[in-house]
Structures are given as structure tokens and as C-alpha cells.
Symmetry: C2
């Protein structure tokens, strides 16, 4: 909480007055994180003409974000899933919603890519969307374990290669 006061520049008084408690504050932060990620990364997949290169770019951007400037930040979704979701069903529900939205965005992007002939014609884009989401979270774990960027890029290559057939 001390860190939050310092980082936000808002006093305890202000934080508790606005959010009630740390838990509520966190939930809003998670919501904000999801919105930001949606706008920065996944919105472009919903536009017509999205390609496999858009998907690759999202992975690259997310890797850069997760690696952070100084230290390996990881991903708030993954931190939340591992640390809180099992003991907090409401938070788990929120997380599920975000992850499904993420998977759906991948699916829509893959559908566009399929129309462009960039992925296997018989690809099940719904399944592949969830699968790419899972890969994204797996990458967060690898980032936290300190694997180098090159390794992370190889993983993305392997994951995407599976779609082109």
C-alpha cells in the first residue's frame, strides 16, 4: 500500500475514500490493464483485413511489454491467475471474461487471415484462438524465468508455424 501511495501520488485517505479497500483498487487496476491491452493490441484484429503479421506483431509487442524496461514484469493476468483467482471467484470470473475476449479477438483475426490464405483452410479458428491465448500466458512465465528475447521469439515462431500448415 505504501508503494501504491508513492507510485500514484495519492494519499491513503484518497485511495481508501475512492476505492474502499485494496481489493477493489486492484480490481479496477486489472480492468484498466485489460482495457489498455485491448486497445493497444487486440482492437486491430477486429478490423477487416487483419493478417497473420498483425498477430505476430501483437506477440512481439506483448513480449516487449512483459520484459519491461529494467526488470521482467510479466503479465498482470498471469500474476492474478496464479496468485488470486483460485481463492477469489469474482476475480476469476473477471479474468475468464478477459481471456475469452482475448481468444475471440485472435479467432476473428485468424478468420481474416484465413480469408487472405495465410493459414490452413481447415483451421478451427475458435480453438486456435484459445490456443494462442494460452501461448501468450506461457510466454509470460518464460519471461519471468529470465529466458532471452531470442528464445521467446522462437516460441512465437513455433506457435504461428502451427497455423500455416
Amino acid at each position: 500500500m505504501e508503494d501504491l501511495v508513492r507510485a500514484t501520488g495519492v494519499s491513503r485517505y484518497g485511495i481508501y475514500g475512492t476505492f474502499g479497500n485494496k481489493r477493489e483498487f486492484f480490481e479496477q487496476a486489472l480492468e484498466r490493464y485489460a482495457d489498455s491491452m485491448g486497445r493497444q493490441a487486440f482492437l486491430r484484429l477486429l478490423e477487416p483485413g487483419a493478417s497473420l503479421e498483425h498477430i505476430r506483431a501483437i506477440f512481439m509487442d506483448r513480449i516487449a511489454e512483459m520484459c519491461g524496461a529494467n526488470r521482467a514484469k510479466g503479465c498482470l493476468f498471469v500474476h492474478t491467475a496464479m496468485e488470486l483467482a483460485a481463492q477469489d471467484t469474482e476475480l476469476q470470473g473477471v479474468l475468464q471474461k478477459f481471456m475469452k475476449r482475448m481468444s475471440k479477438a485472435f479467432s476473428v483475426g485468424l478468420e481474416s487471415a484465413r480469408e487472405r490464405g495465410e493459414v490452413r483452410p481447415d483451421l478451427d479458428v475458435r480453438r486456435a484462438g484459445i490456443y494462442l491465448t494460452t501461448t501468450m500466458f506461457g510466454l509470460a512465465v518464460m519471461v519471468r524465468t529470465g529466458f532471452p528475447r531470442e528464445t521467446l521469439h522462437d516460441i512465437v515462431d513455433s506457435a504461428l508455424a502451427s497455423l500455416t500448415g
Copy 2:
């Protein structure tokens, strides 16, 4: 620590006398977890004649383990990576060693599977090994978020389909 005393049936006296502090105790537990997982899951991949079905079986076993009897346990590697590895370089090193070992085991298994004609002849088994490890950790995140077994199995299908080409 109270939980550890209750779960192990050993007193604080015994734990601190044997391991020194909680951190050391945890490191030994992690080591033990890795050994157990290695024996239960990955040893069979090193034997000749390992097949793609062995790899699939490992994923199924790990999913069953991660889902747990009552609650979603996840994976100690993933918990450690997210919660401790970034602030504890020694633990990060241990974790990297285990993950590389896991990737290597997958690679060896894939090499056998390639000889059996079960995967693409041009598959880069070294990269694919790291990639399967990443998928395994991504699955732990999905487990913790409460996704149903069926979804997890679909993810495994997608991941393995990428290898057969």
C-alpha cells in the same frame, strides 16, 4: 509456516533445525517437485521408441495433476516463476535449469516420434521442445483461471497438431 507444520507433522523446531529457514525449505520442496515430475512424466521420453502419444499422455497427466482433487493447484514452477523468480536470481537459475531439462526431454521424445514418422520430417525438435514447455505452463494459467478440462484438452490438441503438419 503454520500450514507446513500441520501438513508435514513436523514441528517448527524440526523444520528450522533441518532447513534453516523457509526459503531453504521451499528450495528443497521445489527440487523434490522437479524430481517427481521428471520421474513421473519425462523419463519415458528419454527411452527409445517414445511416441507422440507419450507426449500427449504427459500433457493429460499434468492437466489431471494441475487440476487437483478439489481445487485447481496449478504448477509449482509457474507459481515460483511469477512470484519469486524475478526477485531471487538463485531460484530463477534453478527454475531455468528445470525448464531446460523439460524442454530437452520433449525434444528427445520428438526426435523418436520423428523417426517413427509421427511428426513433420523438417520439424526443429529443439525449438519445438521449448515451445511445448511453454504450452505446458500456459495450461497451468488456464487451469488456475478455472477453464474446464475439455478446453484444456482442445489446447493440447491444437499444440500437438502443429507438430504433425
